[in-house]
């Protein structure tokens, strides 16, 4: 990670003015993305991961939003960039795909036409025929069989997996440096999920495509990520490499996430473990550590917000927001022979 980061997000804060007061959806998120790296952002619904992703491309459009911090792509600041500048980045340098491929394509235009539209938006000189040829080639490259015929289909004639492939083809049309995939497999069948993940992995390798993968599914993370950011209530609570997060997790929330995975290699539990309680309201977040109300290991110091720090001497890049010391953590995360979070009393 010593090389120049391709995309650098610094202390990003996104708030929304609502009737109930200010809702801080993203609260000081920062990370670097290196060329060719796959960064997973993990968290439950409402943790701010999607807002983070959309804000990178200036797609957080609510007039009530307040956005602070910085987003730099290759050194150029995007947060205060004008609409025209952002348009040159969107689709061309940063491609994006979304959660629900069923609704992410416009139902009234042919799939090919929507890819052609993306190409010609950035390369107005390209003829329609040429752009169509490229669309066919792109569809073929993401694994659409008989792409030359299917290019003229409407989205409703595609299956969910094919639509997500078409979305990926569209996002890749201008060979972007970064792909932001916002829950790309959530709406798909498990078998199709695996295919789409394989495709993303192939693209990452063959094109050295840096990828931000947003998901709540740790299984997905384990498949493809190099590095992982765990988000909770708008903040990053833990950050580390895939192995660090899976084998040496430092934050109790991460333990809870890992502990609530169903595992085939263990005896089946009576009930799938879960993290007790519900995510906090972002309108009135708890004082101190946001996870405190749900954390069985809470103690006095938690009333203070823990900084995102490297707390392990041997791995400074593995950072977390938990006041417990590493030995206590190693001990307390052991639940029934694996990593987990006991139910709060």
């Amino acid at each position: 990670m010593s090389s120049q980061p391709l995309l650098s997000v610094g202390d990003l804060r996104v708030g929304f003015a609502t009737e109930g007061g200010r809702l801080q959806a993203v609260d000081g998120v920062g990370f670097d993305l290196a060329p060719g790296e796959v960064l997973a952002i993990v968290g439950e619904s409402g943790s701010g991961k999607s807002v983070t992703a959309q804000t990178i491309l200036g797609l957080t459009r609510s007039p009530d939003s307040v956005i602070e911090g910085s987003v730099r792509l290759g050194g150029a600041e995007l947060l205060n960039a004008g609409e025209a500048e952002l348009r040159k980045v969107r689709g061309a340098r940063v491609g994006m795909i979304f959660q629900d491929p069923m609704t992410s394509l416009n139902p009234v235009y042919r799939v090919g036409a929507q890819i052609v539209e993306a190409i010609r938006a950035h390369e107005p000189g390209t003829s329609k025929e040429e752009a169509r040829e490229r669309a066919i080639e792109l569809l073929r490259s993401v694994g659409i069989a008989e792409a030359a015929q299917r290019v003229g289909d409407y989205p409703h004639e595609f299956s969910g997996g094919m639509r997500q492939r078409a979305m990926i083809a569209m996002a890749l049309a201008l060979e972007p440096e970064v792909l932001i995939a916002d829950e790309p497999t959530t709406a798909l069948d498990v078998t199709v999920q695996a295919q789409i993940l394989r495709l993303l992995e192939d693209l990452n390798r063959s094109r050295n495509l840096a990828t931000i993968l947003i998901t709540h599914d740790l299984g997905v993370v384990a498949e493809v990520a190099d590095r992982v950011l765990v988000m909770y209530a708008g903040k990053v609570v833990e950050e580390g490499t895939l192995d660090q997060i899976f084998y040496d997790p430092q934050h109790p929330y991460t333990w809870g996430l890992l502990g609530s995975l169903s595992r085939l290699d263990r005896p089946r539990p009576q009930r799938l473990p879960q993290i007790g309680g519900a995510p906090p309201s972002l309108l009135a977040p708890p004082t101190g550590c946001a996870f405190r109300p749900r954390c069985p290991h809470e103690f006095g110091k938690c009333a203070e917000v823990p900084a995102l720090d490297g707390r392990l001497p041997e791995a400074a890049a593995h950072r977390d927001r938990c006041w417990l010391d590493p030995e206590q953590k190693a001990e307390r995360r052991q639940v029934e022979g694996g990593i987990g979070l006991e139910a709060p009393s």
């Binding site: 348009r87 980045v89 969107r90 416009n106 009234v108 539209e117 569209m170």
Partner: protein, 319 residues
């Protein structure tokens, strides 16, 4: 397509039958609507009334009378009880005026309705949206007869810009044709401009939250292209079905008030006169004429709909 057409044709027969039956029944239930009495005049004696009843077939049972009336509508032999002129011919005479009025008004209301709706939706809550909202609600709230009166008073009698009414055939003098129709066109269009712009605005605001609009932005399309090609295009689909029925009802003689005020001598004015005189044959024929257009245009709308929204299949929508 053939199956669709056949289904729609069968549907049309059923609708026309039902409409004619209801109209006929209502007319025969209205008190003081005995046509023989009306034909005979105010002080007619019973013998005259009796002979008229026999001549016109009013002494026959109602189903027979219904059957005879329907036969005459379709063979073009129907005679009005009032002026005793051929009904079908009168309707055909009124068609140019009515169609001129409706097609022109429709073009105006579609143009301004879409323009105002689009502009409103660009910046919801902005000053333009607020101004257009007031304009739209004023347009919806103003009844046609009041609007016509205001137009006539200000633009005709005070400023003497436009003629008070009358119809000049297009083939005779196109400029004069349009000149005479401008006030009726706008009188008829303004209500729908308000209505359509409000519907389009809310459709567009809904569409703006669609995932495919976010995708369009994420592709790097210009804001104008996102708004026209994605938001507006998809929001126009429901407008089409609204328009099909509104337009058909108007063509079928629905512009009764505007035609009468401006003396256009169209189908709507004929309808107004016939209703005033409780003259059954023209009422029957005009009702059927209107129902025919409504059914026809709902089929045309469905075809256009299927073209605009590829997810819709005609065979399925005909059911």
């Amino acid at each position: 397509m053939a199956r669709f057409a056949l289904r729609r044709l069968a549907g049309m027969v059923v609708v026309l039958f039902a409409v004619s039956l209801v109209t006929f029944a209502i007319f025969n239930l209205i008190p003081n609507s005995d046509p023989a009495q009306r034909l005979a005049g105010k002080n007619a004696d019973a013998v005259l009334v009796k002979s008229i009843e026999e001549d016109w077939g009013f002494d026959e049972p109602l189903p027979v009378q219904y059957w005879e009336t329907m036969k005459k509508i379709f063979s073009g032999e129907l005679i009005s009880y009032g002026d005793q002129l051929n009904v079908d011919e009168k309707i055909v005479e009124g068609i140019p005026a009515t169609f001129s009025l409706c097609i022109g008004a429709a073009a105006i209301w579609l143009f301004f309705g879409i323009l105002f709706g689009y502009l409103s939706a660009l910046k919801p809550g902005g000053w333009l949206d607020r101004v257009l909202t007031v304009v739209a609600i004023a347009g919806i709230s103003l009844p046609a007869f009041l609007l016509a009166a205001i137009f006539l008073y200000l633009l005709t009698f005070k400023l003497e810009l436009f003629p008070a009414g009358g119809y000049v055939p297009l083939t005779e003098d196109p400029v004069d044709w349009a000149y005479h129709l401008i006030l009726p066109w706008f009188t008829l269009a303004i209500l729908n401009i308000g209505f359509y712009s409000r519907v389009l605005r809310s459709n567009m605001l809904d569409a703006m939250n669609e995932d495919y609009v976010r995708t369009a932005r994420a592709k790097g399309l210009s804001e104008r292209r996102v708004m026209t090609r994605h938001v507006l295009r998809n929001s126009l689909i429901p407008i089409v079905s609204l328009f099909g029925l509104d337009f058909a009802a108007m063509l079928g003689g629905g512009a009764i008030i505007v035609e009468s005020i401006f003396g256009l001598n169209g189908v709507g004015q004929y309808a107004a006169e016939s209703i005033t005189n409780l003259d059954l044959p023209p009422i029957m024929a005009i009702t059927m004429f209107g129902a025919f257009f409504v059914v026809l245009f709902s089929a045309v709308t469905d075809i256009f709909y299927a073209y605009l929204d590829p997810r819709i299949r005609l065979e399925a929508s005909a059911r």
